[in-house]
Symmetry: C2
Subunit: 315 residues, 2 copies
């Protein structure tokens, strides 16, 4: 399939590379990496990287503006996006005159789309897939290699997660050989703002662990205001708990604003014991070790914590 996608690139004068909304390092890294590699191999083609901006990740590269004719006769390559609804800036009406739509992804292909589609759920990241694609069909340089390395680091937690394979390290080795400044990129990725650091302090101070190994913390609107932290920024603390030896399962309850409907959003995580059935009982769900749920008040928070204790005791 990848050879067919390369053929489509070869036969198109205009290629528009897209990816999902709220882009992360893998989405942007694969997007800029592929754009650059097509430009190097085919300088005469128009190659655009399209999608909403991400303030925090603007150092990865500059996105192209779109107008009414951007997608006409274009090959669209959609990266890291499981379903069309999540493809940033994609609209049925503006893309009607496109030439072809190709999908390259590593998420489960539950809602297939595209005239051409390549999905490898064993890949740690789309950046890993695109790197191999470039080595096989296009031309790698330091700029592409740096973008793709950032994408791999982003989606693997810097070679931390289970998704890392022999092939991931092989690709990292080949990328490094193009002169990627891995230390500088890692530094950039792992850096946090002082206000987040102070919020970490608050979480470390306030998290409790019960005798079964269940930890939870409640983050009120007041605390978020005190530290100047947005709802999205509270995501940054989820990794703290997993590094603590005594914690088996943890839940963070973020108080929602009145605009968000009030109550608490629960983010539930676990090292080895499945917790998604607890999430499902509280208007939520998700993966066995990472679920989301909702609690309408402190009473339901206590219920969720008690149910987690039972699951851990039985597990």
């Amino acid at each position: 399939m990848l050879n067919k996608i390369f053929k489509a690139i070869e036969e198109s004068d205009k290629i528009v590379i897209m990816r999902h909304v709220s882009p992360d390092l893998d989405a942007l890294g694969s997007q800029f990496g592929l754009k650059r590699a097509i430009e190097v191999k085919f300088p005469e083609k128009t190659v655009l990287a399209v999608g909403e901006k991400s303030e925090g990740l603007s150092w990865l590269g500059e996105l192209d503006e779109i107008d009414d004719t951007t997608f006409d006769d274009a090959l669209i390559v959609a990266l890291d996006t499981a379903n069309l609804d999540r493809l940033s800036l994609y609209k049925e009406e503006t893309t009607r005159n496109r030439k072809l739509l190709a999908k390259i992804d590593h998420h489960p292909d539950n809602e297939p789309f595209g005239d051409l589609s390549y999905v490898d759920t064993n890949a740690s990241s789309v950046s890993e897939i695109i790197a191999q694609f470039i080595f096989d069909y296009l031309e790698m340089d330091a700029s592409s290699a740096s973008s793709l390395y950032a994408g791999i680091v982003g989606d693997t937690g810097r070679f931390l997660f289970n998704s890392v394979t022999e092939h991931t390290f092989e690709i990292a080795a080949r990328l490094k050989s193009y002169g990627v400044e891995t230390f500088e990129i890692n530094q950039r990725i792992s850096e946090i703002d002082i206000k987040i650091a102070k919020f970490y302090g608050y979480i470390y101070d306030n998290l409790d662990i019960d005798e079964t190994g269940v930890s939870h913390v409640v983050v009120t609107q007041e605390a978020m205001a005190q530290f100047g932290i947005s709802y999205e920024e509270t995501n940054a603390i989820m990794g703290i708990f997993g590094t603590i030896k005594q914690i088996k399962t943890w839940a963070v309850f973020i108080e929602k604003s009145e605009k968000q409907g009030g109550g608490f959003r629960a983010r539930i995580r676990s090292k080895r014991i499945a917790i998604n059935q607890v999430a499902m009982r509280h208007s939520g769900g998700g993966h066995p070790f990472a679920s989301g749920a909702n609690a309408k008040d402190l009473e339901e928070i206590n219920e969720i914590v008690e149910e987690l204790k039972i699951v851990v005791k039985e597990g």
Copy 2:
């Protein structure tokens, strides 16, 4: 030289593998990885891993006991140890009847020792060197590969530092292919005790940053007692500061006990501006970006902080 060291292994009935005092992941990982690989290739030989124990790292493997005859006729292989003084459990008098002493290291070879010596300062870790040595001359299996992977992760901060090269990733790929449970190992390495986590909270709460980007924190004997933290365990906090965007240079002052002579030990770090000249002015020294010094009282702490501010302003 490595072929000569292999020849020496081949020609010895007894091989004693040693490494430095206060062993870290690289010291122990390379030690157990090499021991295992010799045993797999040469089941008839006696292979011992010798050195003081490390409580926190006992999961890496079991060390062998020594007696008066342990070193007689033995090939000693000293790993990850720059000078003989730091070789754990090594004594001139007990090793007098050894066959040969071989050194394999990646530190600058300022005090050479050994009948055979291989030093590669470009290697990220001794585990990286030993992995290549095993691929070339011995036999790799899952157990060796896991030990060596842990060693590489330990000495590179999980592929973070500047010391990581294309070869480091290539070795990681080959080790992974032996079925190394990289996620489990990473998890184990990065896990901290809840008392350290609570101490992290204290540090995040108390660290300040001035307008130049200098951050410092004073850890008193009282605070260490409150969190149940030993002098050695205060090392765990040094990485916190480097992840905060606004911090350029930082100093942690640990109050010494009366037994330790009182006053404060200063650990000074910097992202990009050399700070060792400040350390040298306060009975210390070290690398440009990582130095140690001493302050006799709060007044000298203030002096050090003020001098760091000047260095940062000028840098």
